[in-house]
Symmetry: C2
Subunit: 429 residues, 2 copies
Amino acid sequence: MIEPAVLKGFRDSLPEEEIPKKRIIRILEDVFSSYGFVPIDTPVLEYTEVLLGKGGGETDKQIFRFQDNGGRQVAMRFDLTVPFARFLAMHHDKLGVPFKRYHINKVWRGENPQKGRYREFIQCDFDIVGADNAEADYEILSMMHRSFSALRIDGYTFHLSHRALFSAFLAHIGIEDKSIDILRTVDKMRKIGTDEVRKLLDEITGDSSKTEGILSFITAGDGRDFIGTLEAIEKLSGGPSEHSERMRTIYSMLEKTGIASSFVFDPSITRGLDYYTGIVYETFLDKLPSLGSVCSGGRYNDLASLYTKEKLPGVGSSIGLDRLMAGLVELGSPLLADSSAADVLIIHNADDTEKAVIAGEILRGMGIRTDIYLLPEAKMKRIYGYAEARHIPYSLQIKDGSYVLKNLGTREETSFDDLSQIREVIRID
Amino acid sequence: MIEPAVLKGFRDSLPEEEIPKKRIIRILEDVFSSYGFVPIDTPVLEYTEVLLGKGGGETDKQIFRFQDNGGRQVAMRFDLTVPFARFLAMHHDKLGVPFKRYHINKVWRGENPQKGRYREFIQCDFDIVGADNAEADYEILSMMHRSFSALRIDGYTFHLSHRALFSAFLAHIGIEDKSIDILRTVDKMRKIGTDEVRKLLDEITGDSSKTEGILSFITAGDGRDFIGTLEAIEKLSGGPSEHSERMRTIYSMLEKTGIASSFVFDPSITRGLDYYTGIVYETFLDKLPSLGSVCSGGRYNDLASLYTKEKLPGVGSSIGLDRLMAGLVELGSPLLADSSAADVLIIHNADDTEKAVIAGEILRGMGIRTDIYLLPEAKMKRIYGYAEARHIPYSLQIKDGSYVLKNLGTREETSFDDLSQIREVIRID
């Protein structure tokens, strides 16, 4: 006998989790489709060189990689961004730009599993490629807002900033050469706090006045006063620029479409990754700030440059579906509450098997999700336990040639001779 | 620069393919849910030993396997059946039986890619565990029928047989010890033809009269006469038995629910795999017999025995989604025809950007999938090319403060001052 076990950092998804996960994915897909975004998929396995470039770095150690039977160096994708860049390089001619796509699927990282972090998890990316303007930036923000609204999440705030404004500020105070290290350090603010960030910045800048400068930049303004904060940042970064103008235009669109109140200007948002060049954002659940960002992204101007000479500017965002679900569980989201496997459970004696089977087909034809309890000899207690475990709200018992519908919550019973009457009694969303 | 390429046997899924694939998956999920089946998922990576058992055999060579950074022997799943057996061994206590689940996801096999066969493909499995009776067998057949009907496939036939009747026949003629080899050989019938099968059977049985016996068994009866064929098989296998009775009961249910005409008794269906013990089936598209079976399965009585002492009898089926899609493409299925990215494309000048963005939000709120063309400076020819490539049926141009809706097929135009009027003109399914 072999010990049944899953690998460390991996897990099964049982129906209780998988039902709401599928529901959430459908809601997101419907939102994305409502903007004309189209789905794509890419292989789980890619050439290692395609995923890692010429290599090195953090990612390198965390990746699942091996040599396949044909002697190729292959690896499992660790995000959906790099495969998308490779995909664009190969297909942009055929697809044409602007290209608006979404991609919801699993990625793998060999990092050490922590609470709520796994080696296999689902990402949900949506990007617009081939349009570098405020309208495209706005569209992604609008989709984020509509997604969170469609998921009926109780309280969320989108934190916006602009990478180029931060870079302009660093140039303004003469430390643009250290920007990558500074960005990565500031990005850790929420995790490690101001004191620790100050210490790390001191090491990088070697100048406590510059450190204090950076700290006052990232805490400038009151984010709720979007334009006020933008003006403060504008000053610190050397005055008005196309970048600060872009932010103004985006904010105006958010106002005109009535969703501005969910957005704050938060100069502490930098995103650790090198490739961002414009607007950047993170999303926090108001009641669960410690969960971290559940939806992040920004503008990048040259994502596919590793694979093609074609300039392909883009803007996009990524929802961390597993983290978001963990948040929804904690918030007691109604989306997770209904994981009923069926609307009705048909219960019958062995003699009535054919009647039960026919009733099942009729109910399904009426749009009622109908499970049949398949062990007619079982005790009623076991059958009701089955219904309860599956959150099935009604049972339909076949008894002496007629049907008894029972609301398993209220225990109310109604008898029928004719199944067509069931629709008048049953309540299903 | 790195050459952008995908691995041999792998492929990207572009929107043209991914849109209908997602539509098909949703239809199947809705059918499965209508029977009270619940979704599960399992990790892509498992311990190699869990997937392969103590090893050896065909599968062993075809699997993607490696040693992870923690020194574990791991492998990518090559089907959804083995992970389900492992899943059941771990969770059946919590889940309770009968347990009805579906699982739609990718699997990987390193076999040499042929036409229409890839190293990464999607399987779609649905099984009932914990009920060994005709009702459970019927339920899977009913789901298969309802799935194919929901997919609006033009012509399909389910070929049924019974493994235990075949085994009884082999015992009856005294060659049950060679049954595994015989099953595998008969299973190749459609691929290699009668003559080749006869030759192989002769090698196995060493007795041409036994070979002819087997050949007359698998061609017995006229499958369209289900009961007639069953009676012929019953005789050849030594007379009535619980197995032939089971088939009779199943067929009676198919008749009572009005779907019997899609099912034939076909004794040549054996399924190569060892673990089947009862009813077995394959599904062929009437117009594309050479495509092979697009939905196959059967009853197994002890799937999880490698991992648990618990007896877990089951019955299930698996749709080969990629093969089915290839078939639908060849048949010109209407399901694949509509891959429109949006219902309406908004076209605007740079001056009208805010109006366009607002119009987009209003249309989406009305349930109209609305794409906005994001490069206002582009030439009309390019914009219409974009709409055409994405199969978008309408454009909405913002012009002098009013809106012009254009049917891009008929070129008919309608003007509005108020967007609420759009619903009266536009036709969307």
